[in-house]
Symmetry: C2
Subunit: 453 residues, 2 copies
């Protein structure tokens, strides 16, 4: 404090001492503990929010400046929405919560004994730690497939997918050779979880409806959309009835679903499935997940995907004040095996950890938290226009009702009133005129694309 105050006296106008920002009606009475939250996803953000009225100093660290509404990321990849529609600056979301400071930095080390984490160049001390850095996708040991079959976890992933998807048609319009054109117009999605199903569905819809009249030499509606799933049904995490409905929906809109088959090899020209060779220039990855590397740094047991086996109160074994939440946590669940890695679970865990810290702070570490209970609100996945599946309250239904439910739930949970309005507008527009809002081919990862013409 002192040194900072001096800085201010010396008239460094850009500087504003911290106490002014973090003052609230507690701060003068209670000594404040330091809470560090790593990851601004659903779990991290929810935890921070639920500590709004607790006399703690929170530091939320993320290597992105934005919270991403993952459930709609596939719509960016399929040119329906712009990244800004489904992302909000973390700072802005927490702007009014004065006991939070947001840090854009990458955490490279966790020192549980020293009660500190390494964020960028500096160390950050904590009394309570929440690690909620989620998962990225796994290629099951075939990391060389990454450039050939992009996955879908970040905004960059989505833009790269969108770029490849849109470029395929442009290239097909140019080439004369039928075989090559066929390969360019073959889109192969690996993995039929919610993301894979939603991707394949959207791609079928676009090729059949949105862009059919835009091209002169090719018939986009003849494009092949292939969806591969190693297990024996789509949406394996859903009830069987939902999987069957989803499968029917997918076939209705022209997606060729291949169940119980595994993609054995991927190269620039296509994939190998058992003996069968499929020529395609477009492979998209929606199969496995791999936990963020921070999980392993906690020294606790991890499962095959690298998720941390946590205590019933989501704390790390042996560290009562270090928590893991969201996709990074492996939380057993009697009904579902484990809590599925989706938004609802992350939100519930985040809120739970917030409450646990609050209780601990107020009771001075006396009160013990009851174990975390996952409330299964049901599952939703959309296949396309008027087509979705929902399994709620033990019942499963599909079609229009499920679709409307899906749309309203997602609009509702979108962070920020503003985005809700815009996304609703985009969707209404898309629904009426079958037009996609963001058909832009922009740059690419490998910086090869220079100035525009």
């Amino acid at each position: 404090m002192g040194e900072k105050a001096i800085e201010q006296i010396h008239g460094d106008r850009v500087y504003r001492p911290r106490w002014r920002a973090s003052r609230d009606w507690y701060s003068l009475r209670v000594p404040r503990s330091r809470v560090v939250i790593i990851g601004g996803g659903f779990a991290g953000l929810q935890a921070a929010r639920s500590l709004a009225r607790t006399p703690v100093d929170i530091t939320l660290i993320d290597r992105r400046n934005h919270h991403l509404f993952q459930p709609l990321l596939y719509q960016v990849a399929t040119a329906a929405l712009s990244p800004a529609n489904i992302a909000a600056p973390i700072r802005r979301v927490l702007r009014k919560q004065k006991n939070v400071e947001v840090l854009l930095a990458e955490v490279t080390a966790v020192d549980l004994e020293g009660h500190r984490v390494r964020a960028g160049e500096s160390w950050k001390e904590f009394d309570y730690l929440l690690v909620a850095t989620g998962v990225s996708h796994s290629y099951f040991g075939h990391d060389d497939w990454a450039p050939l079959a992009p996955g879908l976890k970040t905004v960059e992933d989505a833009l790269e997918m969108r770029r490849r998807f849109l470029l395929a048609f442009e290239a097909a319009e140019r080439v004369e050779d039928p075989a090559e054109r066929q390969a360019l117009l073959t889109f192969l999605v690996v993995g039929a979880g919610p993301t894979g199903v939603e991707l394949a569905g959207a791609m079928a819809e676009i090729t059949r409806k949105s862009i059919t009249r835009d091209f002169r030499s090719i018939d986009t509606s003849a494009a092949r959309i292939l969806l591969f799933e190693a297990q024996d049904r789509v949406l394996p995490e859903f009830p069987v009835a939902a999987s069957e409905k989803a499968l029917r929906h997918l076939e209705e809109i022209g997606v060729r679903v291949r169940l119980g088959e595994r993609v054995d090899e991927i190269d620039e020209h296509g994939v190998l499935v058992g003996e069968e060779r499929i020529d395609t220039k477009n492979v998209f990855w929606a199969a496995g997940v791999r936990a963020s590397s921070l999980g392993a740094m906690l020294g606790a047991e991890v499962d095959r995907a690298g998720r941390v086996h946590v205590e019933p109160d989501l704390s790390v074994p042996g560290h009562a004040r270090v928590f893991v939440a969201g996709d990074l946590a492996h939380v057993p669940n009697e009904k579902l095996g484990m809590v599925p890695g989706m938004a609802p679970g992350a939100l519930q865990m985040g809120a739970y950890v917030g409450r646990a810290i609050k209780r601990d702070v107020h009771s001075g570490g006396e009160a013990k938290s009851p174990p975390f209970r996952y409330w299964d609100k049901g599952m939703l996945a959309t296949i396309g226009r008027n087509r979705a599946v929902a399994s709620l309250w033990g019942r499963t239904f599909g079609g229009m009702i499920a679709w409307l439910l899906w749309a309203s739930v997602h609009i509702f949970f979108l962070i920020g009133f503003r985005n809700r309005v815009l996304v609703a507008l985009e969707w209404a527009w898309m629904y009426v005129v079958f037009e996609r809002g963001a058909r832009l081919i922009v740059g690419n990862r490998s910086a090869e694309s220079g100035k525009g013409s």
Copy 2:
């Protein structure tokens, strides 16, 4: 045709013969000439559209899939709009015009004698050619400044600018050293043409209004916005009265304008202006322009910036059926010296070339076109909320009226009803809550950013 028809018989469903696409009520009567348009900017697009009812086969070639509404690009750079708001897929814009095919390809060579251009891997023959590939920015021989001081011509440019602009505050929030923080919060714009003025104005507005409450350690409203102009007034292309109004507006919102001063040196840590050293991590380039390299390939005389000196009918000397339009054309104008490189000029030239080709086609080359006349509709530039300057009908005015005029004109000219609505909505929102819609830091050119956290 024959070979293509056969392909179809052999049941290559992906193939659709060209004649079906390009059929119109002319095609069976008149032999059709081939028009090749290079560049899908204002000039190229306008030319294609004005040939909608002319019995020609048009090929519009662009290395981007989208038409970009350049006048609003600075709003993407300053996090107000998403790229998709100001860009429309060229295919979609021309979808209904059956005598146009759009080709996503880069033109690497022009063979005027052979009446053909090299697009990607193949040659494209033409009877009429329009080159409208515009300009990119010039560093006056200091191309090594490009990575240090990004310019603003493409969507990638804008995203890169936005990334740097937003990252500066994040870094400033992290660092403790006052001098470094000061450097991070110093934003320097080189060149006070419309783009430079609009950039500086928007940056001042953001630092003073939009994000003041988002940070804990820094006071963003203390950030320095410097605008350098080598000439003795801002908006040199505008009338003097407009320049004075613009200068007043800029100073009102806290931009420090430095006239008659040239930036002599740029490095990672700042710039050198004469003897004065200015420490800044953020330099943005809005100074010179350099014509697209295609201009030089036409063998005609070019001006210092590489613009082509065209005949009064915008044709290339010695080639009556080869035209240059838009920013790439150097068109003398008694009142303004030359037609300014802005949207209105490009639109008028594009329409003129369209008419010229039409006349030539219908008259079989007999009728000569009257020389191109630039209709000066006046000039508009915005400085920020409620502040703009307009010079219309010989009169100059600023403030609110000019600003409203600016807003409505730009909304009106935005391609596509859809974008108009969305942009209007974004602006309304921004106006009411001082919030920017697209505060996203995404990837970057040099691919260094990996998966998200």
